[in-house]
Amino acid sequence: MRRFWKAVRAVLVVLVALVMMVPIVWIALAAFKQHVDVYQLKLLFRPTLENFALVFDSPYHLGRKLLNSTVVSFVTVAIAIPIATGAAYSFSRFRMRGERVMFVMILATQFVPAVVIVLPFFLLFRDLGILDTRIGLILVNLSIVTPFAIWMIKGFIDGIPRDTEEAALVDGSSRLQVIRNIVLPMAAPGLVTAAIFCFIVSWNDFLFALILTTNKAVTLTVGLALFQAEEGDLWNLLAAAGIIIMVPMFVLALIIQKHFVQGMTMGAVR
């Protein structure tokens, strides 16, 4: 009986894996196929790197979009994480008036569907003259990513025993030195994890970039739409661009895994 359930479990695992992996495998294969081979499901074909060369060339200029995506994502993370760390530390360690309400509000911002707020953003940015700029995109991404990062990092800081910080205070540190010398190193796995999540969210953002950019600040995800041409969907190019989007995420996923384990095993010294 036990063997039977084990077999059932194995089959289910394989099924789930198939459902998840098939599109990715299909794209990975299509990226190296020539246009004529794309609709054929055969696994044996003459692989080509031509698609990658094409997408970086005119008229697609994927390189510029790659740069936009990279700049927007990195700057978003570089701003969001310090702000979120400061906020998370305050929420974790200081009692203030209206703290609970504030904290729930921060979470509540995550409940608002992006579609609802994209229009106000559009009007606002139009009046400010920052439509189709990286700065605009960074601002929007910050508003999405920072609340989430605050929640995440607060969890990690909560896990740092107060004794440790108070020991550092008595040992001669100022509050800022405590944060720099004790809290940040101890929360490092959490910070890295939060940073990677923020990066993924802003890297994968489609809706805001679609509405708020037109030309100069177009990102990779929106750039994919370019491959729906009059002659039909250029699946081989789309797949190649897809790979370019996925690879950094894949690398990040590997790193995150390592840090997750670290974050869980770090624990406090008791």
Binding site: P161, D163, T164, E165, E166, A167, A168, L169, V170, D171, G172, S173, S174, Q177, N181, I182, P185, M186, M266, G267, A268, V269, R270
Partner: protein, 352 residues
């Protein structure tokens, strides 16, 4: 080195009073223990000395300086925490060196030498390159101690430093602490709920309850001359026998018991206290009263005999050869000179 002076110190959280208008003078080089049950305000008092908690009212003076508005780092105190408060991302060496580094000692040679000296005092030299998580509880406690002594502060504060150790280690660490404090002669405030720690370590003990010091005195005074019912009941293990009754011309009367010549005149609402070691077991009819043995426990160094009289249990410490069967009737002899009288309502000690 410094004296500490607490003047009308109060700490309130909303309606909860943790420390209630408390004044206390701690002498230079004194080892003072704050002793009391959990929630009595002893840790809060210490945290206000350290600057980790802001007093609601009152003043903290260290070495003749009013420090109310000073940050912990400027008070020149060192603290050992119950959970050690070690820095897990630093080695033992890094932990001990931290107070020096953060206070601007730049010379690596000097830091190295002082870390070594501090580590040597607590037998840690072999472990300097380990991380805290690779250490046992006792070793972690030593790291916390070394970190406190590495820079000769004016005052040591210790918040239940031994309570996370197992019983055996606690006894040996207690002796080490005693030796260390004798060697360093630095003003120390030590918080504990363990009366044995208080008795063995302290120059003076402050017994606290409900945010107030009930009695301040040497361990001998606290033990031999408790001023209140609370102190009498809290100090001593096994605890003092406390029996409610009344006084009739210097005789103590309670159900089934008459004890002559305890003094105190005539009044009702009186508690008589007698320590188990001041009671003697005798043959029936020869003691102050007879009672039935409820339990007899050999603790090793002595036998604790508990008797029951009128539904009340009384413990007596007898020598270790004593053997009494449960249900046997024995006499209990009370030495009137070694009894204490308290007012039931106020808990204050009564004059004889």
């Amino acid at each position: 080195m410094a004296s500490i002076s607490l003047r009308s110190l109060t700490k309130r959280w909303g309606g909860f009073v943790a420390v209630d208008d408390q004044s206390l003078e701690i002498h230079d080089r004194e080892f003072l223990v704050l002793l009391g049950p959990s929630g009595c305000g002893k840790t809060t008092t210490m945290r206000m000395i350290a600057g980790l908690e802001e007093p609601t009212a009152g003043e903290v003076w260290i070495g003749g300086r009013l420090v109310n508005d000073e940050l912990p780092k400027d008070r020149d105190v060192a603290m050992v925490f119950q959970n050690y408060g070690l820095y897990p991302h630093m080695t033992v060496r890094g932990n001990i060196a931290y107070p020096l580094k953060v206070r601007g000692v730049r010379s690596t040679a000097e830091i190295d030498e002082r870390v070594r000296a501090a580590a040597a005092k607590v037998q840690l030299e072999e472990l300097l390159d380990r991380r805290p998580r690779a250490l046992s509880g006792g070793q972690r406690q030593r790291v916390a101690l070394a970190r406190a002594i590495v820079r000769t502060p004016q005052v040591f504060l210790m918040d239940e430093p031994l309570s996370n150790l197992d019983a055996k280690l606690r006894v040996s660490m207690r002796a080490e602490l005693k030796h260390l404090s004798h060697e360093l002669r630095i003003t120390t405030v030590y918080v504990t709920h363990d009366q044995i720690e208080a008795m063995t370590l302290a120059d003076r003990v402050a017994v606290m309850n409900h945010g107030r010091i009930q009695q301040l005195g040497t361990p001998e005074e606290i033990y031999d001359d408790p001023k209140t019912l609370f102190v009498a009941g809290f100090i001593g293990s096994p605890a003092m026998n406390l029996v409610e009754g009344e006084l009739d011309h210097g005789r103590f009367l309670a159900a089934g018991t008459v004890i002559a010549e305890v003094g105190g005149g005539t009044r009702s609402g009186v508690v008589l206290g007698a320590r188990p070691e001041d009671l003697a077991i005798s043959e029936p009819g020869t003691g102050s009263f007879d009672a039935e043995v409820y339990a007899s426990e050999l603790t090793g160094e002595s036998v604790l005999v508990t008797v029951e009289i009128s539904g009340r249990r009384i413990a007596a410490k007898a020598d270790r050869q004593t053997r009494r069967a449960i249900g046997e009737t024995v006499g209990i002899r009370v030495d009137p000179a070694r009894t204490y009288l308290f007012d039931t309502a106020s808990g204050d000690r009564l004059a004889r």
